[in-house]
């Protein structure tokens, strides 16, 4: 439908997604990064399905009843790849069980940021004038707020947990996307197909959704993909501070904090969940570096 408009790039959103995929698979490090991300993603999806259907997909229960636990503080072995903790819980199972929260929050927060930022920034770039000025000053304020600190205050007062922390991050995460979307939509705002849509009497919110957003989605998508790792990192910090899941439900950062006391006797307990966080984030960093190299952005 969009392709009927003269001058508008054909193919809409699908071709842009395909373009982004090609970008992500062109360099060696990007492929490694993507492989890591897909491994985590698959684990998260499988674990979430298991949790929804109430089937235990982890080798051992993540939060076993006391009489179900195996021996305490076992070192890593074939039976317990990451060992067992001070309460005899299998660390590997706990890490798996935490994946849907600790990994997926990146997608949820960044997804919301893309929507909020895309709408605000896209509108600002398209309409220009006072609305642009107002929306961008509003963005500047949120841009200047330190994300982690705001999330800590919100968590301290309204309580932690994945819902509150997601909201706290969503509220503070969108400003870069608004700036990006504004810049991109300024580029397309005076193209023929936008003028044509205007002349045909379409309302600006309709132009935004139908014509501007599909055309800026490529850039937004690349930036968003690279940003997911940062959210995971920040959230892992919040869970370390005790603002994530309520124990005994596991979180990677919370596990590191809880096992910190066994550092001198059983160091793997805290090291392994920490390493898992790093691995997940490195996936996105590698992908990001690879994509930027391919695009020639340094």
């Amino acid at each position: 439908m969009d392709s009927k408009n003269q001058g508008e790039p054909t193919g809409g959103i699908e071709s842009r997604v395909r373009g982004a995929w090609n970008l992500m698979t062109r360099s060696k490090e990007a492929i490694i990064g993507l492989a890591i991300i897909l491994t985590f993603l698959l684990t998260a999806i499988v674990m979430e399905i298991g949790a929804l259907l109430n089937i235990q997909l982890t080798p051992y229960p993540a939060n076993p009843l006391p009489n179900q636990t195996s021996a305490i503080l076992l070192p890593p072995s074939l039976v317990h790849p990451f060992g067992t903790d001070n309460l005899g819980r299998d660390v590997f199972s706990r890490i798996l069980a935490a994946t849907p929260y600790d990994f997926m929050i990146g997608f949820i927060v960044v997804g919301t940021a893309v929507v909020i930022g895309g709408l605000l920034g896209g509108m600002a770039g398209l309409r220009g004038g006072l609305l642009d000025e107002f929306l961008m000053r509003f963005t500047d304020i949120f841009f200047a707020l330190p994300v982690l600190l705001i999330a800590i205050v919100i968590g301290a007062i309204l309580g932690g947990g994945i819902t509150n922390m997601s909201i706290a991050l969503m509220v503070t995460w969108w400003p870069p996307y608004a700036r990006l979307a504004r810049g991109e939509s300024l580029k397309v705002a005076h193209q023929n197909y936008i003028e044509a849509a205007r002349l045909s009497g379409q309302k600006s919110h309709r132009i935004l959704v139908r014509h501007v957003l599909p055309n800026i989605s490529g850039t937004m998508l690349v930036y968003a993909t690279l940003d997911i790792g940062t959210v995971i990192l920040v959230y892992s910090g919040l869970t370390f501070l005790g603002l994530g899941n309520r124990p005994p439900a596991p979180d990677w950062g919370q596990m590191v904090a809880a096992y910190n006391g066994y550092l001198l006797t059983d160091p793997w307990l805290a090291l392994i969940p920490g390493l898992v966080i790093s691995m997940g984030v490195i996936g996105f960093s590698l992908l990001g570096d690879g994509v930027k190299d391919t695009l020639g952005i340094r």
Binding site: L145, F240, L243, L271, G274, I277
Partner: protein, 341 residues
């Protein structure tokens, strides 16, 4: 003239953002579930009716909310940050006055380490662009900035307490020593130096190394990345070609013409580096039991000490917003073409 106008506008914006942070903390603090007094003084509030009364009087808690807001703002501006239940009801401002210098000591050392490590590796990576050196450096900095500060901290703790027992892994100074008094600058290391207490200064400095190194390792990647890329960009500029054409050797071209021009882009990220270091101090000071403001914020969070949480977040935010301001102004000053429209 233009620079002055830019400066004033930027300053006004920074003040406004700080005001927004204050308003946010005020609004949020009124959302604390349950009895306000109980929330601010802890669950034992009922045990201290006198303190509760003082609190109600001091914060005008029986007045309408906009009156409370005005008192809150004027109190904050006068440095009255409330009292801290987790520290035996001492004023939060005095705890911060005591702990903030310690955090600044770590952040300062970490900043120096970041610049040395980040810039050094960035220069190396650009100089040996697309060789194994470049790849190795990339793996090192990607690993660093993809890790939570507490993970790097734990690795360093394990290595240095189980294997390399050279540096102290906790505390501000050895328990056998006495902190220098009276405090002159508030910074224990400087105080000790001024008073000629060199053994204390040395001991306290050595205690800074591991926490600062942890912060530096998670942060230096930001500098390496930008240093490398801006060097590579600059080295393709016309004036570099001119320098080469007039017969300068590659080393002189790189260090005389490349490096100074690439340095400008480093100013912008210095504020990002400060943000990383300050927020990272919350985790690192806890791990290394270093009694700075990050540690205070951490324990306040664990003990639901609301005035302390609000105040430490506000002070951290104020420092971050100020660094952003300074970086912006420095950038405009170094490169007037860019921001002064």
């Amino acid at each position: 003239m233009n620079l002055l106008r830019f400066l004033l506008r930027r300053l006004a914006f920074a003040v406004f953002v700080l005001f927004c942070v204050l308003t946010l903390t005020f609004v949020l603090s009124h959302l604390i579930p349950g009895n306000v007094i109980q929330a601010w003084l802890g669950k034992e509030a009922g045990l201290y009716p006198a303190v509760a009364k003082l609190y109600i009087a001091k914060y005008h808690l029986n007045d309408p909310i906009y009156v409370q807001y005005v008192y809150y703002l004027s109190g904050m501006l006068q440095g009255n940050l409330g009292i801290s239940p987790s520290r035996g009801f001492v004023p939060v401002s005095s705890v911060i006055a005591q702990t903030l210098p310690l955090t600044l000591q770590i952040v300062f050392l970490a900043f120096v380490m970041c610049v040395v490590l980040g810039l050094g590796l960035g220069i190396l990576a650009a100089r040996y662009h697309n060789t194994w050196v470049d790849t190795l450096i990339r793996i090192f900095y990607l690993g660093g900035y993809s890790s939570p500060p507490y993970f790097i901290g734990i690795v360093i703790l394990v290595v240095s307490s189980l294997y390399l027992r050279i540096l102290p892994t906790g505390g501000e100074y050895s328990p056998l020593l006495v902190s220098p008094s009276p405090s002159i600058t508030g910074f224990p290391i400087f105080d000790a130096l001024i008073q000629g207490n060199f053994s204390f200064a040395e001991n306290a400095s050595v205690h800074l190394i591991l926490p600062a190194l942890t912060l530096a390792l998670v942060t230096f990647g930001v500098i390496t990345r930008v240093a490398r890329s801006s060097l590579l960009d600059v080295m393709q500029a016309d004036y570099i070609r001119t320098a080469r054409a007039k017969g300068l050797d590659e080393g002189s071209v790189f260090y005389r013409h490349g490096l100074p021009n690439a340095a400008i882009s480093l100013i912008t990220i210095s504020s990002l580096v400060m943000t990383f270091l300050l927020t990272g101090s919350v985790f690192v000071e806890y791990l290394f039991s270093y009694p700075g403001m990050g540690h205070y914020a951490f324990t306040a969070l664990q003990g639901s000490d609301y005035p302390a949480i609000m105040a430490t977040v506000f002070v951290f935010a104020a420092i971050i917003i100020t660094t952003n301001l300074v970086a912006d102004v420095l950038y405009a000053w170094a490169d007037p073409e860019i921001r002064l429209g």
